[in-house]
């Protein structure tokens, strides 16, 4: 049985409170007839690493900028830390931002950049210096304080931007695609570091990204957005395993879609008939709205396993390999199943020789019915 509690279980080991840090209520942002954000409602919890994920133009950056105060909702309200943000300018909000371009002040050195926001607080020279040092240490930049922004690498600039925001000890740290300008290796390293940093400082992080792996790897919860609307809010695992619709499923990696006929529907589950997988009983997704007699079943390519030789499984489908793509540690097989209009895509590790299966070989695939997820048509 799938575990419904899984969705609510945070990935982090640090205890989180369930108190709301950011509340977004029916927020709409229109530019003339175009709605960049359309009636978005969302609660982000205290101490949470939250990601806004979606393709470009989905409204995620607009939402982030409205939380920061650089843009205002056309209608609806935003509150941070229980306080309404209406009429509060960006410079008086308890949020700080890491900009996509980092926005490091070119006329100041690293120390002066980090101390920029502290100057106004009049902390005194020693306290200010101590906090700057602390922030630089947090992002592993100790000793680079006197460097100019122009003398820094992309990764270092990113760290300066992070330190400059963290030193303000905001309630919420907003990150606007902070890793998109870095190369792949550095990006992966920074993902781990960002996550570790968030755990250490315990500040609520709101990350905007279009990279699904980044969102899955770093977040406690993710909001997937399309066309100005929030499609699903859940933990990375729930989003990946139980996407509410085809759009979400497609955006988060590969998914095989199979047409299904609804045979039986009750409050918690669905029984559907499919051509390839036969009759299947699955959990009914929360947002499921029946639209006629049809539905779509989805299964991730890695949840289909090749059955070698005479091995059998309780649930299996038989077909024929029509394409094979080699990716180093894994192989993608495209398998035609009699009765299915589209062939299934299967991801198999290369431990057992999936990379040597000749095209045209008859093949049997095992699956777990729990891996089949029902989506509204």
């Amino acid at each position: 049985m799938p575990e419904p509690t899984q969705a609510e279980r945070p990935q982090s080991d640090r205890p989180q409170t369930d108190r709301a840090m950011i509340e977004i209520r029916s927020v709409t942002r229109s530019y003339g007839a175009f709605k960049a954000l359309d009636d978005a409602t969302l609660t982000i919890r205290e101490g949470e690493f939250f990601s806004l994920l979606g393709p470009s133009g989905c409204g995620k950056t607009t939402l982030l900028r409205m939380i920061a105060g650089f843009d205002n909702p056309t209608s609806g309200s935003i509150s941070v830390g229980g306080q309404s943000m209406e009429g509060i300018p960006a410079n008086r909000r308890p949020t700080n931002m890491v900009f996509q371009s980092y926005a490091i002040f070119p006329h100041l050195n690293v120390e002066q950049n980090v101390a920029y926001g502290l100057k106004r607080l009049k902390l005194g020279v020693t306290e200010e210096k101590r906090r700057v040092e602390e922030a630089l240490a947090q992002v592993s930049l100790t000793g680079l304080g006197k460097r100019l922004a122009t003398e820094l690498s992309g990764g270092q600039r990113q760290r300066v931007a992070l330190a400059r925001a963290l030193v303000m000890r905001p309630k919420v740290l907003l990150l606007d695609e902070p890793l998109s300008a870095l190369d792949k290796k550095l990006r992966e390293q920074m993902q781990v570091e960002l996550r570790r940093l968030q755990q250490a400082v315990g500040i609520t992080f709101v990350l905007v990204t279009h990279d699904q792996y980044e969102a899955l790897a770093m977040s406690d919860r993710i909001a997937v957005m399309f066309g100005g609307k929030i499609a699903q809010v859940a933990s990375p695992k729930e989003i990946y395993q139980r996407p509410v619709n085809r759009q979400v499923a497609d955006f988060l990696g590969g998914m095989n879609f199979v047409k299904a006929e609804i045979v039986e529907e009750n409050a918690a589950s669905l029984v559907v008939d499919t051509l390839g997988f036969g009759r299947v009983r699955t959990d009914k997704p929360k947002a499921f709205v029946r639209n006629g007699g049809g539905a779509t079943l989805g299964i991730r390519p890695e949840r289909l396993r090749v059955l070698w030789d005479n091995a059998t499984a309780k649930f299996e489908v038989a077909g024929k390999v029509v394409e094979r793509h080699y990716f180093g540690e894994i192989t993608h097989l495209i398998v035609e199943i009699p009765g299915l209009e589209k062939p299934l895509s299967v991801t198999e590790t290369n431990d057992f020789g999936a990379d040597d299966i000749p095209v045209g070989t008859p093949i049997r695939l095992a699956y777990d019915p729990e891996a089949l997820v029902a989506m509204a048509d």
Binding site: A68, F70, P89, A90, N91, R92, T95, N96, M97, F99, S101, A103, F105, P106, H107, L108, Q112, Y116, G117, R120, L121, R164, A165, M168
Partner: protein, 305 residues
């Protein structure tokens, strides 16, 4: 045969060398600037050398005594009239560049930050005064500042003054007002360009870190537009020191500047060597002042951090 056999590789080598020479970047660069360079050499460097040479000679009625002397410089630097004229010129040009920059900055800022889609229209509007001759623009200031001018009749009409003021025209203030107006566009453009280069996210970052509009302007926008301010100040300052037409037309007796004295030496007084010495002195002083201005603005910029 032998000679030809030896000659061919030699010829080949020169050709190779010539090709290499033509392909080298510096040679190509020199080739590109050579027309302008020759032009500048003939019309700028040579005249300056002629002036420099004259400044060390002496005028003897109709001909010039070519023996080396520093007498002209002694006169230029010690005669009270030339000293006063030089000081006044420096004072006027400094004041003009100060006010021009102060007045141009908000205009450039507005166009750059709030010009929206109409930036080029605004810039175009700024160039409109240049459609008329400079003389006409100076003359129109005469109409505004004169005894029966627009300003006087306006002030009288409002009952602020009883009789026309003569303090408006024919003095150094009139020169300052006229020059400030005339040079505005030359200050607006460099400031506009440097403001355009200021990354708008930097201003957002400053706001995000707690700065209000004024603070973020003083701490980010202004320091980053300093190069534009420096070039605007220099563009206005250097030519206005030697301005000749404006003081002649609106300066009266109190508004005479060093260029008028230089003109007199080359003209009516017919003492080219003294005129040359005055020119060279002015050039040196202007260079020093320009250098000092750059240093002062840089120091202010550093202070702003």
């Amino acid at each position: 045969m032998t000679a030809a056999a030896e000659g061919t590789p030699a010829f080949g080598m020169t050709r190779a060398r010539r090709n290499a020479l033509l392909q080298s970047e510096s040679v190509q660069g020199f080739a590109l600037i050579s027309p302008t360079f020759v032009y500048a050499l003939i019309l700028l460097v040579l005249p300056i050398l002629v002036v420099l040479a004259h400044s060390f000679w002496t005028q003897h009625y109709l001909d010039i005594d070519h023996t080396f002397t520093l007498e002209n410089y002694r006169i230029a630097l010690t005669e009270p009239i030339y000293r006063d004229l030089l000081w006044r010129s420096l004072y006027i040009s400094l004041t003009v560049s100060f006010f021009t920059v102060i007045l141009a900055y908000p205009i450039a800022y507005f166009i750059s930050f709030h010009g929206g889609r109409h930036k080029s229209l605004w810039l175009f509007l700024i160039t409109i005064p240049f459609w008329t001759s400079y003389l006409l623009r100076v003359m129109s200031w005469k109409v505004i500042l004169g005894y029966n001018g627009v300003l006087n009749s306006g002030l009288m009409g409002l009952g602020i003054i009883d009789e026309p003021s003569t303090a408006l025209l024919y003095n150094s203030s009139a020169v300052i007002i006229t020059l400030t107006h005339a040079w505005a566009a030359f200050a607006i453009l460099p400031i506009f360009v440097s403001l355009e280069k200021v990354d708008r996210t930097l201003v957002e970052a400053a706001t995000d870190l707690g700065d209000g509009p004024l603070r973020s302007f003083l701490r980010v926008t202004l320091p980053l537009s300093a190069p534009g301010v420096i070039s605007a100040a220099l563009i206005v300052m250097i030519p206005t020191v030697g301005d000749y037409v404006t003081p002649k037309l609106v300066g009266g007796k109190d508004g005479v500047m060093i260029a008028n004295a230089i003109q007199a030496q080359f003209g009516k007084a017919s003492n080219w060597p003294l005129g040359a010495a005055l020119s060279v002195t002015t050039m040196l002083v202007v260079s020093l002042m320009a250098g000092a201005t750059v240093l002062i603005i840089r120091a202010l910029q550093r202070l702003a951090r």
